[in-house]
Symmetry: C2
């Protein structure tokens, strides 16, 4: 095959005129660095530009801004509705009671997080069915909080943690962000572990001081609560205890759930990193070259190589590629195998004609 240099004349003048030596120390990393500010010849009607423009990252492509409002609204709707419901059937709930409204909120939280101590239990058909309804919707809501809210908070805390860790070294924000990026899941895990320890210590001390439990019982009640086990032999039975419980139960159960999610993420990240390394260091053979050559011109361009490796890494599937290739062939009006400004003009013409 003599085609390995066939594309060369086309590329000359556009790529750096680096001498083609096999010297490994030559600065060849530079070749694809492009001047993004230099636009292609703009031959299109300015009216067309601007339409269908790329939305700013963050709105669709970036990580969506977590909807605090949504979480807050759903949570207050749930707790508000739950409190009203359980307050109105308060005579059909039996157990250790303190203040009627506080007990309703407390029962709501204990049900929603599926702790279910059993220190307050519904004892009529209506209150039992209400509890059934609230526990299912509560599980969904906790899942929603885990997916939207907890991750966002952890990311904020992560930044603080990494900044603190790098305090002694004189590194800039860019380096901190880079460090976070490459160890995202690991740092989040550490953040959540710190959160958990704070919750455990605070809960144990509170139960020891306010609910007058001994230290073992306090720790046991903390574990039983944050795992949502809630045997119910130890629970919050004083007014002060229940006020604390309303906040502490929700945040501690969410923290533990999120911690388990992050542990799973660390494992996935590790496997993914190992796979990427394996794919990148694997030697290319001629069979690979042929398989990677999408446009069948006998050589593998940088973009074709990237797609081939992405497929090997499992980040994209052949389906993804095929779907986009169909779109490409529709766009390639002059069927040159490449898209150029003239294709866009032709496509524009055929659209205005039809």
């Amino acid at each position: 095959m003599a085609s390995n240099g066939a594309n060369q004349p086309l590329l000359s003048g556009l790529v750096d005129p680096t001498p083609q030596t096999n010297n490994k120390d030559a600065p060849k990393r530079r070749r694809f660095r492009r001047c993004k500010s230099a636009p292609l010849a703009d031959v299109l009607d300015p009216e067309i530009k601007g339409k269908d423009s790329i939305p700013s990252s963050g709105s669709i492509f970036g990580k969506p801004h977590p909807n605090f409002m949504k979480v807050a609204v759903y949570l207050s709707m749930y707790l508000g509705g739950g409190t009203i419901c359980f307050y109105s059937v308060r005579n059909q709930i039996e157990g250790t009671k303190t203040d009627a409204i506080l007990d309703s909120v407390y029962f709501c939280i204990v049900t929603m997080t599926t702790v279910g101590y059993g220190d307050l239990v519904p004892n009529s058909v209506l209150s039992k069915l209400l509890a059934c309804g609230f526990v299912f919707s509560g599980m969904g809501l906790v899942g929603f909080i885990l997916s939207k809210f907890a991750d966002y908070l952890a990311e904020k805390q992560e930044f603080l943690l990494v900044t603190a860790l790098h305090k002694h070294q004189n590194v800039g924000t860019t380096n901190i962000l880079k460090d976070i990026e490459s160890n995202k899941a690991r740092y989040k895990c550490i953040v959540m572990l710190i959160n958990l320890v704070v919750h455990i210590v605070a809960g144990t001390i509170f139960l020891f001081v306010v609910e007058k439990m001994n230290l073992i019982d306090a720790f046991y009640c903390v574990c039983s609560t944050m795992t949502t086990l809630g045997y119910g032999d130890r629970s919050f039975s004083t007014t002060g205890g229940r006020v604390f419980a309303v906040f502490w139960i929700l945040t501690s159960t969410v923290s533990l759930g999120q911690f388990f999610l992050y542990v799973a993420e660390v494992n996935t990240e590790k496997r993914q990193k190992a796979l990427v390394k394996w794919v990148l260091t694997r030697r290319m053979t001629n069979v690979d070259l042929e398989a990677a050559d999408i446009d069948d011109d006998g050589v593998v361009s940088a973009a074709e190589f990237v797609i081939y490796k992405l497929k090997e890494m499992g980040k994209i599937s052949q389906d993804d590629v095929s779907q986009i290739m169909e779109e490409f062939e529709d766009l390639d009006v002059d069927q040159s195998g490449t898209l150029s400004p003239s294709d866009i003009i032709l496509a524009q013409d055929s659209q205005t004609k039809s």
Copy 2:
């Protein structure tokens, strides 16, 4: 720019000689269909081939075969260890008792799934700390079962479901697989919903018949158990009931957890599909063309287009691309901007020399 046809001579003979009309009905989809069996000229030492060959899909790239053995071993280790531990401290656990060994297994399951009825509660320091240890490791194990086992079972059931749905239509396995592929999460959701209904009905009838509860109480106990709420005012108190509970609690809590995971997956899939559609139908502008042009040759090849769209869809990041590009530039020994068999030979030579 006159470069839109510049690559044409290189491609002629390799692509179909379809006349270059703007006729939309012309069969232009065919251009990139390649004969995969035709290998590139193989100029390499046959010894090199075979080394570093692509592992068969399924081993690394495909969905890993779920490790039944692992789940089975972990689960029996957990239950075995738990039963021995709780059996040996059976005098430090108080509550409704039946058979000593059965109660230990039952307590283990109720703790592991975080149902925590409280019909059996530890009442010594040792048994309380044991319970704390077992609930944390149990949560991890349930997460492991959810990630490995439940999804695999759901996929098996999914195939049965879709086959049954298509029974009247005379479609082949390929079509069924295609249907499953494009509605994966939706069908899994349905499968899990059916699972849940079966669990609810079976549990309610069992509690009604064996534990002599009324129907409302039976349903209430079922809901309270599968959500892991476990108030504990209603639970399995007979020997037969606890034997049933050991199996039913584990499968029903896992089913509900998996159901919530699938609901989240359906939502993600929906959003992803909408995004893909938006990206694919969005009109290309010259700015896009310039941004997509990785090798800066003034035109966008099919592969470059695919990478640009994949980035827009959020399936890959610039980081992924950069990492692979670095590897590409290392491999492109003759710095032609493309990989060809000669690059592989050169790379091979420099390796043997050094």
